[in-house]
């Protein structure tokens, strides 16, 4: 299992079979505040890297969800439909979609945890 992060604060965890789990980082859930709705795509939808694949909404505003790598959606996290607050409780455990990567080499463009922490420390958000 290896986890990568994007500049727009999504994470991508790759499992042993090479499938990915995409969610938002703990930093992102804190910045959003109370999550009240997650707009998720459909199973089978295909996305190119950096397209928006849905949105996540706090009380105040909607934020686009940006896909970190090109993919096909294998599964959506149905638990978030009824209980979007799970994202606040544990953002890393509560992924939003499970994906099949269509161009696995794209992960090279993403940050690992150390690089992401460095990014958070040095960039004004």
């Amino acid at each position: 299992m290896k986890t990568y992060f994007s500049p727009s604060h999504e994470y991508l965890t790759i499992d042993e079979e090479g499938n990915g789990y995409v969610g938002i980082s703990d930093y992102a859930q804190k910045a959003l505040g109370n999550v009240v709705y997650v707009d998720m795509p459909e199973v089978g939808d295909e996305f190119e890297k950096d397209e928006d694949f849905g949105a996540i909404e706090s009380v105040k505003a909607a934020s686009d969800l940006i896909i970190p790598v090109s993919c096909e959606v294998l599964e959506i996290n149905e638990a978030l439909a009824d209980n979007p607050r799970l994202v606040n409780e544990d953002a890393m455990a509560n992924w939003i979609i499970k994906i099949k990567l269509t161009d696995p080499e794209e992960v090279e463009s993403l940050m690992d945890l150390d690089a992401y922490n460095e990014y958070l420390a040095t960039n004004p958000h």
């Binding site: 505040g33 109370n34 707009d39 949105a55 909404e57 009380v59 105040k60 505003a61 439909a81």
Partner: protein
């Protein structure tokens, strides 16, 4: 963003760790601890808001009553000293220049409280229309601070901090001048924008800063504009820029009760009288979205045949009301209660139903 303005409490918000964002030309606190916590503090205890960005214009002089009646939809004729009146200034075509509060300070003596984002536009409008009237227009927005103290414990906390037992005598939508601290004059009104009991205090910058600190020390919760919007929305109060605009009339916004058509003359009267007589083509309604999806400002409202019949003006997942709700300006033919409609949120369409826009019951001290 070079010209962004700061209120007299700006450094205090930054010191409290508020999330700051531009609103109405000012760098304002959106939230401190969180919108939900602050919203609930106002519904259940006492929250305080920096509303020093609001504009204050004093209008006095021999023709002041006649002049205010000409630019204002509500009726100040013979209004008693100490009354606050809500209403609008209109364009000749009935569109809304701004919504505002008029404080009756005495005969031919008024304070107009206007929205921050409209200060320049409003002052220009007031000055332009004052031609031919013997009035003195004194624009004091840069010199006056304002704090809103809101919630069921607002009276107790404001009394404790100011020592003014007399504020208990203020009824809803009245005000008076008081002296606090080192005998400084302040205006306190029993008004607000939350649907809860509460007060608004107008004072000099120095007094506003001291009062803010004292209110916090007395247990009031600092509240940002984020929950100010959720609170006013849940009780169906309009926000200029959402429910009212240069091209939205108060009749369309279902605010006809603040438009006194029995006055013989005011700017925009003919247009709104015609709308009222014929029925406005658009009407502001409440919507419940029958899903968790949130229809926000600008979301399209569509009928069964996919025709766009209007747009959402404000929408939230309610905080005191656990539903996805919205206010929307739609074709009047679809405005009846219980009408089934749909809203488009990004790529998806969700069912919605017309409900009362008073989503949550107000608790004013009448």
């Amino acid at each position: 963003m070079e010209d962004i303005k700061k209120t007299c409490l700006h450094d205090k918000h930054v010191g409290l760790g508020a999330q700051m964002s531009p609103f109405g030309g000012f760098d304002m606190p959106i939230q401190y601890e969180g919108i939900v916590e602050e919203h609930n503090a106002v519904r259940m205890a006492c929250g305080i808001f920096d509303v020093s960005h609001m504009g204050e214009v004093f209008v006095s002089g021999p023709d002041a009553e006649r002049f205010v009646n000409m630019i204002f939809t509500n009726d100040v004729t013979g209004a008693e000293k100490g009354k606050c009146l809500y209403g609008m200034m209109l364009h000749p075509d009935g569109g809304t220049v701004d919504d505002l509060l008029v404080y009756v300070q005495g005969v031919n003596d008024y304070l107009l409280v206007i929205n921050a984002a409209n200060i320049d536009k409003d002052v220009a409008w007031i000055v332009k229309n004052a031609e031919g009237y013997d009035v003195n227009i004194d624009h004091q927005s840069d010199n006056i601070g304002e704090i809103a103290v809101q919630g069921p414990e607002a009276e107790t906390i404001l009394k404790k901090v100011t020592g003014l037992d007399a504020i208990s005598e203020l009824t809803f939508y009245t005000f008076a001048h008081y002296r606090i601290y080192d005998d400084v004059d302040v205006i306190i009104s029993r008004t607000g924008y939350t649907g809860e009991d509460g007060f608004e205090v107008y004072a000099s910058h120095d007094v506003t800063r001291k009062l803010w600190d004292d209110l916090l020390a007395a247990g009031a919760v600092p509240c940002g504009l984020g929950c100010r919007d959720t609170l006013r929305f849940e009780v169906g109060l309009p926000l200029y820029g959402d429910e009212l605009a240069d091209d939205i009339s108060p009749i369309e916004a279902s605010l006809g009760m603040f438009v006194k058509l029995d006055k013989p003359e005011f700017i925009g009267r003919e247009a709104v009288a015609a709308q009222k007589a014929a029925g406005a083509p658009r009407k502001l309604v409440g919507l419940e979205i029958l899903d968790r999806a949130i229809a926000r400002h600008g979301a399209e409202v569509i009928d069964a045949d996919d025709n766009v019949i209007g747009f959402v003006t404000t929408g939230y997942r309610g905080i005191s009301v656990d539903k996805s709700i919205a206010m929307a300006l739609i074709d009047s033919r679809f405005a009846a209660m219980d009408t089934n409609l749909r809203v488009r949120v990004r790529r998806k369409v969700f069912p919605a139903v017309v409900i009362s826009k008073k989503f949550y019951k107000k608790s004013y001290k009448k």
